[in-house]
Symmetry: C2
Subunit: 338 residues, 2 copies
DNA sequence: CTGAAAGCGCTTACAG
DNA sequence: CTGAAAGCGCTTACAG
C-alpha cells in the first residue's frame, strides 16, 4: 500500500506552510486565506488525491463526528428503518453511525458502550431502553450526549422520541369494540420495557373506558413470535371460552399468536380477531393481512438524530418526550365476532 | 463534561512514566513490565475509570480496528443477518463495523467509500457488487483490504463469499419439473448484478437439461416487490396461456409476483406455482407459505469477516470464491399443475 | 525493567 | 494573509 498523502505533502506541492493548507482545505476557515493561495492548495490536494485523516483531526479537535447507535437486534424488522432514518440525517452532516446490537443483554450493552466511548463517539442514540437503565445515569453524570428512541426509561435523563403508544392502543381497542368484541386479551411485551408497560397500561385504560368485562393482560417473555406463540397456546389450553379478540404487544407477538390460533384449529379472523403493533414490513403479504398500529419508524430515527445533533452542538440534555402520531391500519385479521 | 482521564493521569497516580503505563495496559506488552508495577498501573486505571483513547492510538499505529461495510439497503431483509454475522466476528476481536447504505447508487457508494477511507478504515466488506465496479480496481491498486459478499464482480480483485446460486437454482427447477411443470418463467434480478446474471444463467441451463420447451427469462427492474409485480402483471396481460410455474430471482420479486397473480384472479399454487430465493424471514407466515432457496446469510457474513481479518493481518487479497451450500425449502406455494 | 524523546497528522492561538 | 510552534493522547525504538 503506497502511503497516502498528508497535509504536509499538499502544502509542499502548493508551496505553502501546512497551517495555510489546513485553513484553505477547511471551508470554515478558507475565508482567512488569499483566494489565489487557496486555489493552489485545492489544486495540489486534488492532484495528490488527498483525503484528510479524520483520526488526526479528531485527536486534535476531540470531535470524531461519530455517533454510537445501540439497538437490541438488527434482524428485528423494527430497527432497520430507524437506523436508516438516523443515517439519513447524520451522513449529510458528516457524521457516521456506529451500530451495535445488544441482544437485550445489559452486559453486552455495557461492553459496546465502553467500546464506543473508547472510540470517542460524540453522542449516543439508544433504542435499548429498559425501565431501569443504570448506564444512563452514569452517562448523564459524565456529560455524555444521548437520545432515546422508541423505548424510554423510568428515570428521565435524556430526550425520548417515541410513538404515541396510548393513542395507538386506544385506536386498536376502539376498533375491536366497534366490531362488536367483548372478550379482549392483550398479549403484552415485557413490563420491564417501557413500551410493554405503557401499552399494557393504555390497554387497561381503553378497556375500562369501554366498560368491558374482565379484560386480561398476559405478559410475554419477550417481543418475539415464539414468546407470543407460547403465551397464546397456553391461553387457548385453558378451560372456558377463548377471547374473541387478541391485541398483540407487537407484530412478532401477533405472528406467534396466529400460529397458535391455527395450531388450535381456530381461524383468524372468523374465530379470533388479531391486531399487531408497529406495522412492520410485509404484514400486507400475510393471509390474513395483519391489522396493526403503524409506527413511523423512519421518522423516529430522523427525529432522534436531529435531537442528538442539537445536543452535540451545545443544547442541554432536556428530558422531554417527543411523541409521533400513530395510526391504525385495518387489514384482514380483524372482523366482527361470529 | 468533566475531562476524561488520560494515560498520563494513570501514570501519575501509579507513580510511573506514561510509557510504562502504556506497556502495562497493553496485554501484548505487559510482559515487559514488572508484575508489581503492572498491578499498580492497572489499579490506578481502574480507580480513575480510564479508557484508552482509540483515536490517539490509531493515529500512532495507523490501525483503527474499524471495517467499512457497504450494503445496498438495511431495510432489505437479506442484509441484516449478513451484517450481524460480520459483527459477531468483528466485535470480539476489537473491531467495529461502520455500516453504510448505498441504495445501489454508485455515487452514494463512492461518497461513503471516501468517507470511510478518510476515517482510516482498516478494510471493507462490500455487498454492493455490480458486475462492473470501478471502485474495486482503484481500491485494489491502492492496496486496500476488502472482501465481497453475496454479489461478485466480473473483474475479480478480491475474495467473494456467496451462496452456490447455480445449485440452488437447479434444485428449484428440478423441484418444479418433478411436480410436473413444463411452462416455467424466471423473473430475474437485474443482469447488471452478478446474482441476477448468474441465477438467470443457471435457470437457462437447468431448463435445458430438462429439455423443456421455450423457457422464458424476464428481467425485472430491481430486486424489489414492485418490480416483480410489474413484470408479472405484464406477463399475465399477454395473450396465450400463462406459465404454470414462476421462479423468482429473489423473495421480494416473488412477493410482487404473488400480488400480480392474485390481482389477475389466479390462485397460487393451484394456477401458478411460485418460488423465491434467499428464504428471507417470515416467509413461513405467508399464505401460501413461500417455497424458497435458503441462503445462509449469517454464515455469509461470518465468512466474509473472517477473510477480511486474514487480509488485514497480512494475507494477500486472493480472488478466490467461497460458495456456501444452499438448500431448497419447500412450502405451500408449489404444487403440481392442475 | 523503566524512562526520555520523538512522532503519528492534524488544528489553532499567537506573532508578524 | 501566512508561518512557526505547540499539543491532542497515545506507542515504540532507543538508552540506560
Amino acid at each position: 500500500m503506497t502511503k497516502r498523502p498528508t497535509m504536509s505533502d499538499v502544502a509542499r506541492v502548493a508551496g505553502v506552510h501546512k497551517a495555510t493548507a489546513s485553513r484553505a482545505l477547511n471551508p470554515l476557515t478558507s475565508g482567512q486565506v488569499n483566494p489565489a493561495t487557496a486555489r493552489r492548495v485545492l489544486a495540489a490536494a486534488r492532484q495528490l488525491g488527498y483525503t484528510p485523516n479524520a483520526t488526526a483531526r479528531s485527536l486534535r479537535t476531540s470531535r470524531t463526528y461519530t455517533v454510537g447507535v445501540l439497538i437490541p437486534d438488527l434482524t428485528n424488522p423494527l430497527f432497520p428503518p430507524i437506523v436508516r432514518g438516523i443515517e439519513n440525517v447524520l451522513f449529510p452532516r458528516g457524521y457516521t453511525a456506529l451500530v451495535a446490537n445488544t441482544d437485550n443483554d445489559p452486559e453486552r450493552e455495557a461492553a459496546h458502550f465502553e467500546a464506543l466511548l473508547g472510540r470517542q463517539a460524540d453522542g449516543f442514540i439508544l433504542a435499548t431502553g429498559r425501565r431501569e437503565h443504570p448506564l444512563l445515569a452514569a452517562a448523564h453524570e459524565r456529560g455524555i450526549s444521548a437520545v432515546l428512541v422508541n423505548r424510554g426509561t423510568d428515570d428521565a435523563f435524556y430526550p425520548l422520541v417515541t410513538g404515541d403508544d396510548p393513542a395507538g392502543m386506544t385506536a386498536a381497542v376502539a376498533h375491536l369494540v366497534a366490531l362488536g368484541h367483548h372478550r379482549l386479551v392483550h398479549l403484552a411485551g415485557p413490563a420491564t420495557l417501557s413500551t410493554g408497560f405503557r401499552r399494557a397500561q393504555a390497554f387497561r385504560h381503553a378497556v375500562a373506558a369501554h366498560d368491558l368485562d374482565g379484560p386480561r393482560i398476559i405478559e410475554c417473555a419477550g417481543y418475539t413470535a415464539d414468546a407470543g406463540e407460547r403465551a397464546m397456546a397456553a391461553l387457548l389450553a385453558e378451560a372456558g371460552a377463548p377471547p374473541t379478540a387478541v391485541v398483540g404487544g407487537n407484530d412478532l407477538i401477533a405472528l406467534g399468536a396466529l400460529r397458535a390460533i391455527r395450531a388450535a384449529g381456530l381461524r383468524c379472523p372468523e374465530d379470533v380477531s388479531l391486531t399487531g403493533f408497529n406495522d412492520m414490513p410485509f404484514l400486507d403479504e400475510l393471509r390474513p393481512a395483519l391489522t396493526s398500529v403503524h409506527v413511523p419508524t423512519h421518522e423516529l430515527g430522523v427525529e432522534a438524530a436531529r435531537l442528538l445533533l442539537e445536543q452535540i452542538e451545545g443544547a442541554p440534555a432536556v428530558a422531554k418526550t417527543i411523541s409521533l402520531p400513530l395510526r391504525l391500519v385495518v387489514r384482514e385479521s380483524t372482523a366482527p365476532p361470529s
